[in-house]
Subunit: 187 residues, 2 copies
DNA sequence: ACGCGATAATTAGCCTCCTAATTAGTAACT
DNA sequence: AGTTACTAATTAGGAGGCTAATTATCGCGT
Protein backbone atom coordinates (compact mmCIF):
# COMPACT_ATOMS: atom_id res chain seq x y z
CA UNK A 1 0.00 0.00 0.00
CA UNK A 2 2.41 2.50 -1.27
CA UNK A 3 3.09 6.14 -0.84
CA UNK A 4 0.69 7.33 1.72
CA UNK A 5 2.39 6.03 4.75
CA UNK A 6 2.78 9.46 6.24
CA UNK A 7 5.08 9.65 9.18
CA UNK A 8 2.76 12.07 10.95
CA UNK A 9 -0.95 11.78 10.63
CA UNK A 10 -2.86 15.00 11.20
CA UNK A 11 -4.04 15.50 14.72
CA UNK A 12 -7.77 15.64 15.32
CA UNK A 13 -7.46 19.24 16.45
CA UNK A 14 -5.69 20.12 13.24
CA UNK A 15 -8.49 18.57 11.26
CA UNK A 16 -11.02 20.69 13.11
CA UNK A 17 -9.10 23.75 11.98
CA UNK A 18 -9.00 22.64 8.38
CA UNK A 19 -12.77 22.36 8.22
CA UNK A 20 -12.88 26.12 7.91
CA UNK A 21 -11.41 26.00 4.42
CA UNK A 22 -12.72 22.56 3.51
CA UNK A 23 -16.32 22.16 4.62
CA UNK A 24 -16.57 18.68 3.11
CA UNK A 25 -14.00 17.37 5.53
CA UNK A 26 -15.43 15.18 8.28
CA UNK A 27 -12.74 15.19 10.98
CA UNK A 28 -13.65 11.98 12.75
CA UNK A 29 -14.10 10.11 9.47
CA UNK A 30 -10.79 11.41 8.21
CA UNK A 31 -9.02 10.43 11.39
CA UNK A 32 -10.47 6.94 11.34
CA UNK A 33 -9.73 6.54 7.65
CA UNK A 34 -6.11 7.65 7.88
CA UNK A 35 -5.43 5.50 10.92
CA UNK A 36 -6.95 2.51 9.18
CA UNK A 37 -4.77 2.99 6.13
CA UNK A 38 -1.69 3.47 8.19
CA UNK A 39 -2.27 0.47 10.42
CA UNK A 40 -3.03 -1.71 7.43
CA UNK A 41 0.04 -0.55 5.63
CA UNK A 42 2.26 -1.10 8.63
CA UNK A 43 0.94 -4.60 9.21
CA UNK A 44 1.41 -5.34 5.54
CA UNK A 45 4.95 -4.06 5.48
CA UNK A 46 5.90 -6.14 8.50
CA UNK A 47 4.66 -9.28 6.86
CA UNK A 48 6.38 -8.29 3.67
CA UNK A 49 9.65 -7.84 5.52
CA UNK A 50 9.33 -11.24 7.15
CA UNK A 51 8.54 -12.95 3.87
CA UNK A 52 11.43 -11.21 2.17
CA UNK A 53 13.81 -13.03 4.52
CA UNK A 54 12.63 -16.22 2.87
CA UNK A 55 12.89 -14.90 -0.66
CA UNK A 56 9.12 -14.51 -0.81
CA UNK A 57 6.85 -11.62 -1.65
CA UNK A 58 3.25 -11.26 -0.51
CA UNK A 59 2.12 -12.08 -4.02
CA UNK A 60 4.22 -15.21 -4.30
CA UNK A 61 3.18 -16.32 -0.83
CA UNK A 62 -0.52 -15.74 -1.43
CA UNK A 63 -0.37 -17.59 -4.69
CA UNK A 64 1.35 -20.56 -3.11
CA UNK A 65 -1.08 -20.59 -0.19
CA UNK A 66 -3.94 -20.76 -2.65
CA UNK A 67 -2.35 -23.89 -4.10
CA UNK A 68 -1.78 -25.45 -0.70
CA UNK A 69 -4.15 -27.81 1.03
CA UNK A 70 -3.80 -26.69 4.62
CA UNK A 71 -5.22 -29.86 6.09
CA UNK A 72 -3.48 -32.44 3.95
CA UNK A 73 -0.26 -30.52 3.34
CA UNK A 74 -0.44 -31.24 -0.38
CA UNK A 75 -0.81 -29.34 -3.64
CA UNK A 76 -4.26 -28.42 -4.97
CA UNK A 77 -3.86 -27.49 -8.65
CA UNK A 78 -5.75 -24.46 -9.95
CA UNK A 79 -6.03 -22.45 -13.13
CA UNK A 80 -4.61 -18.94 -13.45
CA UNK A 81 -8.13 -17.60 -13.84
CA UNK A 82 -9.26 -19.17 -10.56
CA UNK A 83 -6.16 -17.90 -8.78
CA UNK A 84 -6.70 -14.39 -10.10
CA UNK A 85 -10.29 -14.45 -8.92
CA UNK A 86 -9.42 -15.67 -5.43
CA UNK A 87 -6.50 -13.34 -5.00
CA UNK A 88 -8.32 -10.35 -6.43
CA UNK A 89 -5.79 -9.47 -9.12
CA UNK A 90 -5.68 -9.47 -12.91
CA UNK A 91 -4.90 -12.65 -14.78
CA UNK A 92 -1.84 -11.12 -16.31
CA UNK A 93 -0.47 -10.64 -12.82
CA UNK A 94 -0.80 -14.35 -12.15
CA UNK A 95 1.07 -15.13 -15.34
CA UNK A 96 3.99 -13.04 -14.15
CA UNK A 97 4.05 -14.53 -10.67
CA UNK A 98 3.84 -18.07 -11.98
CA UNK A 99 6.72 -17.26 -14.33
CA UNK A 100 9.05 -16.45 -11.46
CA UNK A 101 7.75 -19.20 -9.17
CA UNK A 102 8.24 -21.71 -11.96
CA UNK A 103 11.73 -20.40 -12.59
CA UNK A 104 12.49 -20.98 -8.89
CA UNK A 105 11.10 -24.52 -9.03
CA UNK A 106 8.26 -23.88 -6.61
CA UNK A 107 5.36 -24.47 -8.99
CA UNK A 108 4.83 -26.15 -12.35
CA UNK A 109 2.51 -25.42 -15.25
CA UNK A 110 0.60 -28.15 -17.01
CA UNK A 111 -2.03 -28.03 -19.72
CA UNK A 112 -5.46 -29.16 -18.63
CA UNK A 113 -5.94 -32.27 -20.77
CA UNK A 114 -9.70 -31.65 -20.97
CA UNK A 115 -9.40 -28.10 -22.27
CA UNK A 116 -6.06 -27.13 -23.66
CA UNK A 117 -6.80 -23.41 -23.30
CA UNK A 118 -6.41 -23.77 -19.56
CA UNK A 119 -3.30 -24.33 -17.53
CA UNK A 120 -3.16 -26.07 -14.18
CA UNK A 121 -0.67 -24.71 -11.70
CA UNK A 122 0.78 -27.18 -9.19
CA UNK A 123 2.94 -26.71 -6.13
CA UNK A 124 6.07 -28.81 -6.46
CA UNK A 125 7.33 -30.82 -3.47
CA UNK A 126 9.97 -28.12 -3.09
CA UNK A 127 7.15 -25.58 -3.11
CA UNK A 128 5.29 -27.42 -0.36
CA UNK A 129 8.35 -27.74 1.83
CA UNK A 130 9.33 -24.13 1.26
CA UNK A 131 5.87 -23.03 2.28
CA UNK A 132 5.86 -25.23 5.34
CA UNK A 133 9.19 -23.78 6.33
CA UNK A 134 7.73 -20.31 6.26
CA UNK A 135 4.35 -20.85 7.86
CA UNK A 136 5.32 -21.16 11.53
CA UNK A 137 7.24 -17.89 11.43
CA UNK A 138 4.47 -16.25 9.49
CA UNK A 139 1.94 -17.24 12.12
CA UNK A 140 4.18 -16.08 14.91
CA UNK A 141 4.67 -12.80 13.15
CA UNK A 142 0.92 -12.25 12.85
CA UNK A 143 0.38 -13.16 16.49
CA UNK A 144 3.13 -10.76 17.54
CA UNK A 145 1.57 -7.92 15.60
CA UNK A 146 -1.74 -8.41 17.36
CA UNK A 147 -0.22 -9.18 20.75
CA UNK A 148 -1.09 -5.76 22.15
CA UNK A 149 -4.80 -6.43 21.74
CA UNK A 150 -6.97 -8.32 24.21
CA UNK A 151 -9.45 -10.90 22.99
CA UNK A 152 -12.19 -8.33 23.45
CA UNK A 153 -10.36 -5.73 21.44
CA UNK A 154 -9.77 -8.19 18.63
CA UNK A 155 -13.45 -9.00 18.47
CA UNK A 156 -14.38 -5.32 18.54
CA UNK A 157 -11.87 -4.53 15.84
CA UNK A 158 -13.19 -7.24 13.55
CA UNK A 159 -16.76 -6.13 14.16
CA UNK A 160 -16.01 -2.50 13.33
CA UNK A 161 -13.90 -3.33 10.28
CA UNK A 162 -16.67 -5.49 8.92
CA UNK A 163 -19.03 -2.54 9.11
CA UNK A 164 -16.71 -0.69 6.75
CA UNK A 165 -15.49 -3.27 4.29
CA UNK A 166 -18.43 -4.93 2.68
CA UNK A 167 -18.57 -8.39 4.13
CA UNK A 168 -20.28 -9.60 0.97
CA UNK A 169 -23.31 -11.29 2.46
CA UNK A 170 -23.41 -10.93 6.23
CA UNK A 171 -26.87 -12.46 6.46
CA UNK A 172 -25.92 -15.61 4.59
CA UNK A 173 -23.19 -16.43 7.06
CA UNK A 174 -25.53 -17.35 9.84
CA UNK A 175 -27.37 -20.00 7.91
CA UNK A 176 -24.35 -21.87 6.59
CA UNK A 177 -22.54 -24.47 8.58
CA UNK A 178 -19.11 -23.00 9.16
CA UNK A 179 -17.35 -26.34 9.36
CA UNK A 180 -18.70 -27.68 6.13
CA UNK A 181 -17.68 -24.78 3.95
CA UNK A 182 -14.05 -24.54 4.81
CA UNK A 183 -12.90 -21.24 3.38
CA UNK A 184 -10.46 -21.38 0.45
CA UNK A 185 -8.30 -18.65 1.91
CA UNK A 186 -4.69 -18.24 2.64
CA UNK A 187 -3.89 -17.12 6.15
CA UNK B 1 -1.57 -3.19 -0.92
CA UNK B 2 -1.50 -5.73 -3.62
CA UNK B 3 -2.32 -9.37 -3.99
CA UNK B 4 -3.78 -10.46 -0.76
CA UNK B 5 -7.18 -9.04 -1.15
CA UNK B 6 -8.78 -12.39 -0.76
CA UNK B 7 -12.40 -12.52 -1.67
CA UNK B 8 -13.13 -14.81 1.24
CA UNK B 9 -11.30 -14.57 4.48
CA UNK B 10 -11.14 -17.73 6.55
CA UNK B 11 -13.89 -18.10 9.07
CA UNK B 12 -12.92 -18.14 12.72
CA UNK B 13 -14.19 -21.69 13.00
CA UNK B 14 -11.98 -22.72 10.12
CA UNK B 15 -9.00 -21.21 11.83
CA UNK B 16 -9.70 -23.23 14.94
CA UNK B 17 -9.53 -26.35 12.79
CA UNK B 18 -6.27 -25.37 11.21
CA UNK B 19 -4.57 -25.03 14.58
CA UNK B 20 -4.36 -28.81 14.64
CA UNK B 21 -1.78 -28.82 11.88
CA UNK B 22 -0.31 -25.41 12.66
CA UNK B 23 0.16 -24.93 16.37
CA UNK B 24 1.72 -21.48 15.90
CA UNK B 25 -1.51 -20.15 14.51
CA UNK B 26 -3.37 -17.84 16.88
CA UNK B 27 -6.92 -17.80 15.53
CA UNK B 28 -8.10 -14.51 16.98
CA UNK B 29 -4.88 -12.76 16.02
CA UNK B 30 -5.09 -14.16 12.52
CA UNK B 31 -8.68 -13.11 12.14
CA UNK B 32 -7.97 -9.58 13.35
CA UNK B 33 -4.91 -9.33 11.16
CA UNK B 34 -6.61 -10.48 7.98
CA UNK B 35 -9.60 -8.24 8.52
CA UNK B 36 -7.32 -5.29 9.11
CA UNK B 37 -5.44 -5.91 5.91
CA UNK B 38 -8.57 -6.38 3.93
CA UNK B 39 -10.32 -3.31 5.27
CA UNK B 40 -7.22 -1.21 4.70
CA UNK B 41 -6.86 -2.50 1.20
CA UNK B 42 -10.47 -1.91 0.36
CA UNK B 43 -10.39 1.64 1.67
CA UNK B 44 -7.22 2.25 -0.26
CA UNK B 45 -8.62 0.89 -3.48
CA UNK B 46 -11.73 3.02 -3.20
CA UNK B 47 -9.67 6.16 -2.84
CA UNK B 48 -7.46 5.04 -5.66
CA UNK B 49 -10.50 4.55 -7.89
CA UNK B 50 -11.80 8.00 -7.04
CA UNK B 51 -8.45 9.63 -7.71
CA UNK B 52 -8.10 7.77 -10.98
CA UNK B 53 -11.19 9.57 -12.27
CA UNK B 54 -9.17 12.75 -11.97
CA UNK B 55 -6.07 11.33 -13.58
CA UNK B 56 -4.41 11.03 -10.18
CA UNK B 57 -2.77 8.19 -8.32
CA UNK B 58 -2.33 7.98 -4.56
CA UNK B 59 1.34 8.77 -5.00
CA UNK B 60 0.76 11.80 -7.17
CA UNK B 61 -1.97 13.02 -4.84
CA UNK B 62 0.08 12.55 -1.70
CA UNK B 63 3.01 14.33 -3.22
CA UNK B 64 0.90 17.28 -4.26
CA UNK B 65 -0.77 17.46 -0.85
CA UNK B 66 2.64 17.68 0.75
CA UNK B 67 3.36 20.71 -1.43
CA UNK B 68 0.02 22.36 -0.62
CA UNK B 69 -0.55 24.86 2.15
CA UNK B 70 -3.98 23.82 3.35
CA UNK B 71 -4.71 27.07 5.10
CA UNK B 72 -3.46 29.52 2.52
CA UNK B 73 -4.23 27.49 -0.58
CA UNK B 74 -0.75 28.09 -1.98
CA UNK B 75 2.35 26.12 -2.87
CA UNK B 76 4.96 25.30 -0.23
CA UNK B 77 8.15 24.24 -2.06
CA UNK B 78 10.06 21.25 -0.74
CA UNK B 79 13.08 19.15 -1.68
CA UNK B 80 12.75 15.59 -2.96
CA UNK B 81 14.52 14.36 0.16
CA UNK B 82 11.99 16.06 2.45
CA UNK B 83 9.10 14.72 0.39
CA UNK B 84 10.49 11.20 0.50
CA UNK B 85 10.87 11.42 4.25
CA UNK B 86 7.33 12.69 4.83
CA UNK B 87 5.73 10.27 2.41
CA UNK B 88 7.75 7.31 3.62
CA UNK B 89 9.17 6.28 0.24
CA UNK B 90 12.59 6.15 -1.38
CA UNK B 91 14.01 9.26 -2.98
CA UNK B 92 14.15 7.60 -6.34
CA UNK B 93 10.40 7.17 -6.16
CA UNK B 94 9.97 10.91 -5.72
CA UNK B 95 12.12 11.53 -8.76
CA UNK B 96 9.83 9.37 -10.84
CA UNK B 97 6.64 10.96 -9.57
CA UNK B 98 7.97 14.46 -10.05
CA UNK B 99 8.91 13.49 -13.61
CA UNK B 100 5.35 12.68 -14.53
CA UNK B 101 3.80 15.54 -12.54
CA UNK B 102 6.18 17.96 -14.21
CA UNK B 103 5.31 16.51 -17.60
CA UNK B 104 1.65 17.18 -16.81
CA UNK B 105 2.37 20.75 -15.75
CA UNK B 106 1.31 20.27 -12.13
CA UNK B 107 4.68 20.90 -10.48
CA UNK B 108 7.98 22.51 -11.43
CA UNK B 109 11.56 21.77 -10.46
CA UNK B 110 13.97 24.52 -9.54
CA UNK B 111 17.52 24.44 -8.22
CA UNK B 112 17.90 25.72 -4.71
CA UNK B 113 20.09 28.80 -5.27
CA UNK B 114 21.80 28.32 -1.89
CA UNK B 115 22.82 24.72 -2.57
CA UNK B 116 22.73 23.57 -6.13
CA UNK B 117 22.71 19.92 -5.15
CA UNK B 118 19.11 20.35 -3.99
CA UNK B 119 16.00 20.83 -6.03
CA UNK B 120 12.89 22.64 -4.89
CA UNK B 121 9.60 21.28 -6.10
CA UNK B 122 6.75 23.75 -6.50
CA UNK B 123 3.06 23.30 -7.21
CA UNK B 124 2.11 25.28 -10.30
CA UNK B 125 -1.12 27.33 -10.30
CA UNK B 126 -2.55 24.56 -12.43
CA UNK B 127 -1.42 22.09 -9.76
CA UNK B 128 -3.15 24.08 -7.03
CA UNK B 129 -6.39 24.36 -8.94
CA UNK B 130 -6.31 20.69 -9.91
CA UNK B 131 -5.84 19.74 -6.28
CA UNK B 132 -8.62 22.04 -5.13
CA UNK B 133 -10.88 20.50 -7.72
CA UNK B 134 -10.25 17.06 -6.27
CA UNK B 135 -10.32 17.75 -2.55
CA UNK B 136 -14.07 18.13 -1.96
CA UNK B 137 -14.78 14.82 -3.63
CA UNK B 138 -11.89 13.19 -1.82
CA UNK B 139 -13.26 14.32 1.52
CA UNK B 140 -16.75 13.17 0.65
CA UNK B 141 -15.39 9.83 -0.42
CA UNK B 142 -13.58 9.39 2.92
CA UNK B 143 -16.67 10.41 4.85
CA UNK B 144 -18.80 7.98 2.85
CA UNK B 145 -16.44 5.13 3.59
CA UNK B 146 -16.69 5.75 7.32
CA UNK B 147 -20.39 6.59 7.26
CA UNK B 148 -21.40 3.24 8.73
CA UNK B 149 -19.51 3.98 11.94
CA UNK B 150 -20.84 5.99 14.85
CA UNK B 151 -18.67 8.59 16.53
CA UNK B 152 -18.03 6.11 19.30
CA UNK B 153 -16.99 3.39 16.91
CA UNK B 154 -14.60 5.74 15.14
CA UNK B 155 -12.94 6.64 18.42
CA UNK B 156 -12.71 2.99 19.41
CA UNK B 157 -11.28 2.03 16.06
CA UNK B 158 -8.59 4.70 16.26
CA UNK B 159 -7.73 3.71 19.79
CA UNK B 160 -7.36 0.03 18.90
CA UNK B 161 -5.41 0.71 15.71
CA UNK B 162 -2.99 2.88 17.62
CA UNK B 163 -2.28 -0.01 19.96
CA UNK B 164 -1.10 -2.00 16.95
CA UNK B 165 0.72 0.47 14.76
CA UNK B 166 3.44 2.10 16.73
CA UNK B 167 2.36 5.65 17.26
CA UNK B 168 6.01 6.70 17.41
CA UNK B 169 6.04 8.61 20.69
CA UNK B 170 2.68 8.46 22.41
CA UNK B 171 3.96 10.09 25.57
CA UNK B 172 5.34 13.14 23.78
CA UNK B 173 1.99 13.97 22.29
CA UNK B 174 0.39 15.03 25.52
CA UNK B 175 2.90 17.72 26.30
CA UNK B 176 2.83 19.50 22.95
CA UNK B 177 0.22 22.04 22.09
CA UNK B 178 -1.72 20.47 19.26
CA UNK B 179 -2.64 23.76 17.64
CA UNK B 180 0.85 25.12 17.50
CA UNK B 181 2.40 22.15 15.73
CA UNK B 182 0.04 21.83 12.84
CA UNK B 183 0.79 18.46 11.35
CA UNK B 184 2.47 18.47 7.93
CA UNK B 185 0.20 15.74 6.66
CA UNK B 186 -1.97 15.29 3.68
CA UNK B 187 -5.49 14.22 4.47
C1' DA C 1 43.80 26.27 -4.60
C1' DC C 2 43.15 21.37 -4.44
C1' DG C 3 41.54 17.18 -3.37
C1' DC C 4 38.60 14.26 -0.32
C1' DG C 5 34.59 12.75 1.95
C1' DA C 6 29.76 13.57 2.47
C1' DT C 7 25.28 14.52 0.59
C1' DA C 8 21.39 15.35 -3.12
C1' DA C 9 19.39 13.80 -7.00
C1' DT C 10 19.22 10.91 -10.82
C1' DT C 11 19.82 6.68 -13.52
C1' DA C 12 19.65 1.71 -14.25
C1' DG C 13 17.61 -2.45 -13.48
C1' DC C 14 14.29 -5.31 -11.02
C1' DC C 15 9.50 -6.63 -9.14
C1' DT C 16 4.50 -6.35 -8.83
C1' DC C 17 0.62 -4.45 -10.32
C1' DC C 18 -2.50 -2.70 -14.25
C1' DT C 19 -5.10 -2.52 -19.16
C1' DA C 20 -5.32 -3.61 -23.87
C1' DA C 21 -3.99 -6.34 -27.63
C1' DT C 22 -2.68 -10.93 -29.23
C1' DT C 23 -2.61 -15.96 -29.64
C1' DA C 24 -4.53 -20.46 -29.02
C1' DG C 25 -8.24 -23.51 -28.33
C1' DT C 26 -13.29 -24.70 -27.84
C1' DA C 27 -17.94 -24.94 -29.19
C1' DA C 28 -21.77 -24.13 -31.82
C1' DC C 29 -24.15 -23.33 -36.08
C1' DT C 30 -24.50 -23.64 -40.83
C1' DA D 1 -15.91 -28.93 -42.81
C1' DG D 2 -15.69 -24.05 -42.02
C1' DT D 3 -16.78 -19.84 -40.08
C1' DT D 4 -17.91 -17.38 -36.06
C1' DA D 5 -18.09 -16.22 -31.30
C1' DC D 6 -16.29 -16.93 -27.05
C1' DT D 7 -12.90 -17.89 -23.51
C1' DA D 8 -8.06 -18.77 -21.48
C1' DA D 9 -3.57 -17.36 -21.20
C1' DT D 10 0.12 -14.65 -22.63
C1' DT D 11 2.48 -10.57 -24.37
C1' DA D 12 3.34 -5.58 -24.68
C1' DG D 13 3.69 -1.44 -22.59
C1' DG D 14 3.02 1.63 -18.60
C1' DA D 15 3.06 3.18 -13.64
C1' DG D 16 4.81 3.12 -9.00
C1' DG D 17 7.61 0.87 -5.73
C1' DC D 18 12.60 -0.74 -4.40
C1' DT D 19 18.09 -0.96 -4.12
C1' DA D 20 22.51 0.06 -5.88
C1' DA D 21 25.42 2.67 -8.71
C1' DT D 22 26.39 7.42 -10.86
C1' DT D 23 26.79 12.26 -11.16
C1' DA D 24 26.95 16.90 -9.40
C1' DT D 25 27.86 19.90 -5.71
C1' DC D 26 29.36 21.30 -1.31
C1' DG D 27 32.52 22.04 2.56
C1' DC D 28 36.51 21.22 4.80
C1' DG D 29 41.39 20.52 5.67
C1' DT D 30 45.67 21.14 3.91
Amino acid sequence: MPLLMLKDLPRYEGLLEAVRRHPDLDPSACEAYLNLLRAGDEAYRQSEAFLAEHNMSPGRFTLMMLLYDKMAGTSVPATPAALAEKAGVARATITGLVDTLERDGLVTREHDPRDRRMMLIHLTPKGVSTLEGILPGHFQQMAAQMAALSQDERKTLVRILNKIAGSPAPAARIETDPLVHASPSTY
